[in-house]
């Protein structure tokens, strides 16, 4: 189906939206050959209806189009944000549609939609306030329009399901009839907007069906990998397998005359791409292309050599950040009982189901990208920087993501590479899709790390001193060097902080020393769904934890909720054992109880996971439950199988045969226990992942009597 977008700034009123770069370019006329259901243009007054404010566009048939700035990658943010706007708007939920704002549009309107970055579980937790205000302001303007129309005071009006009624004169009007007038009403002073008490919510807080399910059931949803544009060519890329290496040479003549192949492109010294009329032809040609690499200085690095460096770091003199109270070292030294253990975790790839991809078209004075991105504004910046086209002449059309998990956020390496290739084909769209192998070979991995834990217990078994030292690679060093201040990198101790708001350690220990030692490698690292501090310190039962948590009521309440739902302490079937863990990150506290058995042959089976979460407020309980189910699967995959091994300076686990992902048969029964405290708005998509592994490992300890201190379990002999 052919779609043509038109933009003509002159025709629109002040409030009417001007399509992104049209504002700068003096009009936008693009021919698209995208299947229906994907239209990057925002609804415009020219098409009928009116924009009441940035968040709400109302069509003549009363359809309320709610605009979404955050990226949808399965976590349900589109539905949740729409629920929040609709709640304040008082519209009819059955008539809600959504549309996705582009970063060019956001830029052209001075960031009317705020921040677009979608990571760190912040889709709802950092925008709930202004999106609700957006809905409330639109409602106020619609009410004012009705009052003006009928010449009655607003106070005499009521509104429900998108219909405003003046009972005294038995008149009513629907939003569709009022929108054009409302668009001309002065926006209310933000200070006068009063948001509803969540107790009174009718749309938010309810387990409503997702708005974006239908096209995922019949194949019609267009992911980035599915984008097709007129004249489009496809590209496949291979970067030097050793991080930091370069292309030495390649023999293009060897693939001359292959069907469909247009060009071999060297990408930024480090990579080679083949461009062809179809992706498969490009891929087959790239595989046939002889390439010589200059592998550089890191070609002998392996997981073992990196582990050695980390081990050295555990004993190093200089640290890169700490948190301390009392004198932990002395307390442990003089304690009645001393416990010490070293834990280790490997590099992990994100392995989003949809491999990295981006489609880019660069012409002399315009650059466009169609890309699944967690940070559309970063994509826009990358597009402009890499193409040399000024920001105002760039636009990014977001497709929903086939998984993000932190991979599609700040790095934007996929956009940079696609632009580098597209620049060789001015005016033609180039779709770059990575093979699964390339995706596994060039991720920004969850850092490998080691942790040494020393604890001192008094004669009664009370914890008197705790020393945690974490050694590993710094995410900031790869992605955000400015985040390291005076050699200290606070981010690496997330979840162990003292400050209560985001990622606070939930235990009070009289003498505590937590340290981070930075040991960077040549492997690029980045955020990976959730925070993965391994809290399997606890071979300790529930009561041991409770005693340490009296000053952390929010953590404790969640721990208790999980324990209660899981019938902690009550007998389990023979051979099944309990493990428990709790943690806080992204502003939410979570706790899990795992029921696990270990067979005579050392086979682990996780039967049931009870996961409790306090994310402050629950916008859609069914979707929060879905996210918890998802974190269990993602966390268990990491626990059981997750490992990216480095050999000869490169990643060796390049597909799902050696980087297995948990399957349905292994999925435990997951029970989500939602205990929103109303304290603060916390994240949902990530926090509970952090308690999955420790709860399971603690259950295994209960089952076998032996602690597990190394992940993944596939490498550990349990019996």
């Amino acid at each position: 189906m052919k779609k043509t977008l038109r933009g003509n700034a002159a025709k629109f009123s002040r409030r009417t939206f001007i399509v992104g770069s049209a504002a700068a370019g003096g009009g936008l006329a693009l021919g698209f050959n995208l299947p229906s259901g994907f239209d990057p243009a925002l609804a415009q007054s020219a098409d009928g209806g009116a924009e009441v404010n940035a968040w709400v566009f109302v069509k003549p048939d009363d359809t309320c189009v709610i605009r979404i700035a955050r990226s949808e990658m399965g976590q349900g943010t589109i539905t949740g944000l729409a629920q929040l706007v609709a709640e304040e708007l008082e519209c009819d939920w059955k008539k809600v549609q959504v549309e996705r704002v582009t970063p060019g549009q956001n830029l052209a309107r001075k960031r009317a939609w705020g921040e677009m970055s979608t990571g760190g579980s912040r889709g709802i937790r950092t925008s709930h306030d202004y999106v609700r205000r957006g809905g409330a302001a639109a409602r106020t303007m619609l009410l004012q329009a009705a009052a003006d129309e009928w010449k009655v005071p607003v106070s005499e009006l009521t509104v429900a399901d998108g219909v405003i009624t003046h009972a005294a004169s038995a008149r009513s009007l629907s939003y569709g009839k009022l929108a054009a007038a409302a668009a001309k009403v002065e926006a209310p002073d933000p200070k006068t907007i009063r948001l509803k008490d969540p107790k009174d919510w009718k749309i938010a807080g309810k387990p409503l069906k997702r708005l974006d399910t239908a096209d995922k059931l019949d194949g019609s949803k267009i992911f980035g990998i599915d984008v097709r544009l007129p004249g489009m060519l496809c590209a496949v890329i291979k970067d030097c397998p050793v991080f930091g290496g370069k292309v030495a040479s390649y023999d293009e003549a060897k693939i001359a005359g292959r069907p469909g192949v247009r060009k071999v492109v060297k990408v930024k010294d480090t990579a080679v791409a083949v461009v062809a009329d179809t992706w498969w032809r490009a891929k087959a040609a790239l595989e046939a292309l002889p390439i010589l690499w200059d592998e550089g200085a890191n070609a002998s690095v392996s997981s073992a050599t990196i582990a050695e460096r980390m081990k050295e770091g555990l004993a190093a003199e200089v640290t890169n950040g700490d948190r301390r109270n009392g004198d932990a070292l002395k307390a442990i030294e003089t304690a009645a009982k001393k416990v010490e253990a070293v834990y280790s975790t490997p590099f992990l790839a994100h392995a989003t189901m949809e491999p990295m991809n981006a489609t880019v078209r660069v012409s002399a004075n315009k650059a466009e990208a169609w890309v699944p991105t967690q940070n559309a504004e970063a994509s826009l910046a990358a597009l402009s920087e890499a193409s040399g086209v000024p920001l105002a002449q760039c636009e990014v059309y977001r497709t929903d993501l086939g998984g993000g998990f932190g991979r599609r956020g700040g790095t934007q390496d996929f956009v940079h590479k696609a632009v580098a290739i597209a620049k060789e084909f001015p005016g033609l769209p180039i779709k770059l899709i990575w093979s699964r192998e390339e995706d596994q070979a060039h991720d920004f991995y969850r850092p490998m790390s080691q942790c040494r834990l020393a604890a001192g217990l008094d004669a009664n078994g009370n914890l008197v001193g705790l020393h945690v030292r974490i050694c590993g690679q710094s995410i900031n060093a790869t992605l955000n060097p400015a985040g390291i201040v005076n050699g200290k990198d606070r981010r690496q101790l997330q979840g162990l902080w003292e400050e209560p708001d985001n990622a606070q350690l939930g235990y009070t220990v009289p003498n505590l020393l937590i340290e981070y030692v930075m040991r960077n490698t040549h492997v690029p690292v980045g955020p990976w769904r959730g925070v993965n501090t391994n809290q399997n310190a606890g071979k300790d039962p529930l009561d041991f934890r409770r005693a340490l948590m009296s000053k952390h009521p929010r953590h404790l309440a969640v721990l208790n909720a999980a324990a209660e739902k899981a019938d902690w302490g009550k007998p389990l079937p023979p051979g099944v054992h309990h493990g428990i863990a709790q943690f806080m990150n992204q502003g939410s506290t979570s706790a899990a109880v795992a029921e696990v058995s270990v067979s005579d042959r050392g086979q682990v089976k996780v039967h049931r996971m009870v996961v409790a979460l306090d994310c402050g407020y629950v916008v859609n309980p069914d979707q929060v439950a879905a996210q918890i189910e998802g974190t269990v699967a993602y966390g268990l995959t990491a626990t059981l199988y997750g490992e990216c091994r480095v050999r000869d300076g490169r990643m060796v686990d390049l597909n799902f045969d050696s980087y297995p992902i948990m399957r349905l048969a292994e999925m435990p029964k997951v029970e989500a226990v939602l205990v929103p405290s109303g304290d603060a708005w916390g994240g949902v998509g990530e926090p509970s992942i952090s308690v999955v592994a420790p709860a399971v490992l603690n259950a295994i300890h209960a089952a076998t009597g032996k602690p597990v201190r190394q992940l993944p379990l596939k490498n550990v002999k349990l019996v």
């Binding site: 399910t213 194949g219 990998i225 189901m353 949809e354 979707q623 799902f656 048969a665 029964k669």
Partner: protein, 153 residues
């Protein structure tokens, strides 16, 4: 040149015989509901039906497909999303990102055709597609729901 029977229509496509059926379906035929996830028959994102059986199309050469083989992709499972599996998936809100779901739905539909009343163990054995978002619990529930629906109709 290959002749394919896809979703009931005959398509002549220009492709080298060793091209995976997946990529012919996606690129030459232009049906993008069938997804690429691994290319090595591991993940099931590329699942289609060939003569009513579920197959991983990334690992079938188009040259090995006969013109008489009946290929059905997610787009051809029903004309309007009315297959019992699609309805159950909607009722339970199974998908998260949705990328794996074409394959999951095709696997479930083939299972129910073969075994209209699957046990949990049948589901464990048949539903081996990867879902990175972890929708497995809902997939299981939706297969049971669709089984009840199928047996009624």
């Amino acid at each position: 040149m290959a002749r394919l029977n896809i979703n009931g229509s005959i398509r002549d496509v220009e492709a080298e015989p060793d091209t995976p059926l997946l990529w012919v379906i996606r690129e030459q035929v232009g049906l993008t509901g069938t997804k690429y996830g691994c290319g090595i028959a591991q993940c099931g994102a590329c699942s289609v039906h060939i003569n009513d059986e579920v197959q991983r199309s990334c690992s079938i050469r188009v040259g090995d497909v006969k013109a008489t083989d009946r290929i059905v992709t997610i787009e051809g499972l029903s004309s309007n999303g009315s297959h019992p599996v699609q309805k159950a998936w909607a009722a339970i809100d199974v998908p998260q990102c949705g990328y794996c779901q074409s394959g999951q739905i095709m696997a479930a539909a083939a299972l129910l055709k073969r075994t209209p009343r699957p046990t949990n163990q049948d589901i464990d054995e048949a539903m081996t597609n990867i879902c990175r978002c972890g929708t497995y619990q809902r997939i299981r529930a939706a297969v049971h729901m669709a089984a009840n629906d199928t047996s009624r109709t």
